[in-house]
């Protein structure tokens, strides 16, 4: 049962082969057994989960169930959920019990009837690519527990890869869904900016943050995405557009699909075995009827530098709310208000978060704004324009998700710049606001490799189709980590 797809679980629930309470218990027991090894969950609340499962069973019995009612899911601890501790991986929020639901949580609980199994570990405030910046300790990769699961949605990735949950939510500011999906052999989707509401999703870099699904297959992601999207007046950048059914085009044949291969993604800097797996996947696509064309993203080498100005700038502004006055941690001792702020923030934030806040404060400060922040925004435009140009000659862009497979815990923790370069292929997609996916496409040295798919604006349905057809022709996504 634990390896079944969301569709199969849905059918089993509808046919009364299993109840949601039984199904949730199965996963909760697995969490209890395996989480001490993986540290994928930071909060589990069996009573709360089973109460939701009971309500889901009632909906199923009453015939008012939706397609995913009663299915358990893991929630990244960046989403506020009423009555649940919501930490964002930080000491600052270690005791914060959210008084309200994020829109995504509300949609999943109240509308879709999904059952939350708990909150998953993550890099502190989503700042990291290895899940090592979490206040609650690192997450271990189920494929090799001496290695990182990627980040920042590392807990969600490890949870799904170890089948502690059938699927999970993640968020992606610079690659935080796609890179951990790649490192843990999952399918993950970052939607077009503005498609999934950011209300109640603790803000890191508001012009880049986007929530999305992480699961075992494209079909599972499509079903989940259907529950997450929609216009939300509580998010000022939410897009008001017609609702789609993302399962609609899953089966469409790929004949005539034009795959763009950016020459910048196929040069130096990528592990050779990773590249071999990526090229083999592209060859498989050719067998499925696609053609390839070389494209160029000439400014992509500037995406990491531009990102490390824009994201910290937005973070320094967003995280100014953590002042010890209204919620979260407050330092125990101080003599005046200024000291209360400075001690609270010094004690409540971890090293990586402080670094980014300080970069942000500097690039926004008087005299440096034009040289850094405005310049980064201009480069952001150039990067976005590169994609516009590339999509004139192709339908979807492909390349590696990550330049390497999962690295060892501690390997890059001491050098922020090395860590930042883990996201070299994913960041440009966030800067442009495009949808991107990572799907399993093979192994290198026994560790999973991810293929990145980048679509044009609002092409989530097409990306899911392209991913799904590949997953019908291959079985990489069905390989499971041997952790028991």
């Amino acid at each position: 049962m634990i390896n079944k797809s969301l569709k199969q679980l849905s059918q089993a629930l509808a046919a009364k082969q299993i109840s949601s309470v039984e199904l949730s218990t199965l996963f909760l027991d697995r969490i209890e057994r395996l989480n001490p090894t993986l540290n994928a969950f930071v909060t589990v609340d069996r009573k709360k989960s089973l109460k939701m499962a009971l309500a889901a069973d009632a909906r199923i019995a009453a015939g008012t169930a939706g397609p995913l009612t009663g299915i358990p899911i893991a929630q990244k601890d960046i989403f506020c959920a009423e009555g649940w501790t919501t930490t964002c991986g930080s000491k600052m929020l270690a005791n914060f019990v959210s008084p309200y639901d994020a829109t995504v949580i509300h949609k999943m609980h109240a509308e879709a009837g999904l059952v939350s199994l708990g909150k998953t570990n993550m890099d502190e405030f989503a700042m990291g690519s290895s899940n090592e910046t979490s206040f609650f300790g690192p997450v271990r990769n189920p494929w090799d527990t001496s290695r990182v699961p990627g980040g920042s949605s590392g807990g969600s990735a490890a949870a799904v890869a170890a089948r502690l949950a059938p699927a999970a939510t993640g968020t992606d500011t610079g690659g935080s869904i796609r890179q951990p999906a790649a490192l843990c052999n999952l399918t993950g989707l970052k939607p077009t900016y503005g498609v999934v509401s950011r209300y109640g999703m603790i803000a890191f870099a508001s012009s880049l943050d986007q929530g999305g699904p992480m699961a075992a297959s494209a079909e599972d992601c499509a079903l989940l995405l259907n529950t997450m999207v929609g216009f939300d007046e509580r998010d000022s950048t939410s897009l008001d557009r017609p609702v789609e059914d993302y399962t609609r085009d899953l089966e469409k044949p790929l004949n005539g699909l034009r795959i763009g291969l950016p020459k910048e993604f196929f040069g130096e800097g990528c592990d050779a075995e990773v590249m071999t797996a990526v090229r083999a996947a592209i060859a498989e696509y050719e067998k499925l009827g696609a053609t390839t064309v070389e494209v160029s993203l000439p400014n992509s080498h500037l995406s990491v530098p531009a990102y490390y100005v824009i994201a910290p700038a937005e973070a320094s502004s967003n995280l100014s709310r953590f002042d010890g006055a209204r919620y979260g941690y407050r330092a125990p001792e101080y003599d005046n208000l200024e000291q209360m702020y400075e001690k609270t923030r010094a004690q409540g934030f971890g090293a990586e978060v402080k670094r980014r806040i300080m970069i942000g404060a500097y690039v926004l400060s008087h005299g440096y704004y034009d040289a850094y922040y405005l310049q980064a925004q201009r480069i952001r435009r150039l990067i976005a324009n590169d994609f516009v140009e590339a999509f004139k000659s192709c339908d979807v862009i492909m390349g590696p998700t990550s330049p390497s497979t999962a690295f060892k815990l501690g390997e890059k923790a001491a050098d922020p710049v090395q860590m930042y370069l883990s996201d070299i292929y994913t960041i440009a997609v966030n800067l442009a606001g495009l949808p991107g996916m990572s799907i399993p496409c093979g192994f290198a040295g026994g560790l999973p490799v991810g293929l990145q798919l980048i679509g044009n604006y609002f092409a989530e349905g097409q990306l899911l189709n392209v991913a799904h057809r590949y997953q019908q022709a291959t079985d990489w996504h069905q390989r499971r980590a041997a952790i028991e």
Binding site: P305, S316, N336, M340, K354, R355, Y362, Q375, R378, R381
Partner: protein, 95 residues
């Protein structure tokens, strides 16, 4: 570009983060490494390029100036470090 120790302390103060001399020294090394990465931007000629603040070219929505949220003060203040009589308590600001 290279940040001096004094600049690092100044930035920490701007960000309202207390920093010890030892921490400032480590931070200086890290920040200078990061700024070295960022410097790659400076060689790019971006004259005439419109800065891009957002992925979607849409203007900010406006709504009616009307109350839409109910009163949940008690719930919101339940998570505050220190409150009294419906007010947030902080150290004395005005003498």
């Amino acid at each position: 570009m290279s940040l001096t120790l004094e600049q690092v302390k100044r930035i920490a103060h701007l960000a309202r983060i207390e920093i010890s001399d030892a921490e400032a020294l480590t931070t200086q090394g890290h920040l200078n490494g990061i700024f070295q990465l960022i410097e790659e931007m400076q060689a790019v000629d971006t004259r005439g390029v419109e800065p891009m603040a957002h992925a979607q070219d849409v203007s900010q929505r406006l709504r009616e100036d009307a109350v839409t949220e109910g009163d949940r003060r008690a719930a919101y203040q339940a998570v505050a470090p220190d409150t009294e009589a419906g007010l947030y308590l902080v150290p004395k600001v005005i003498e």
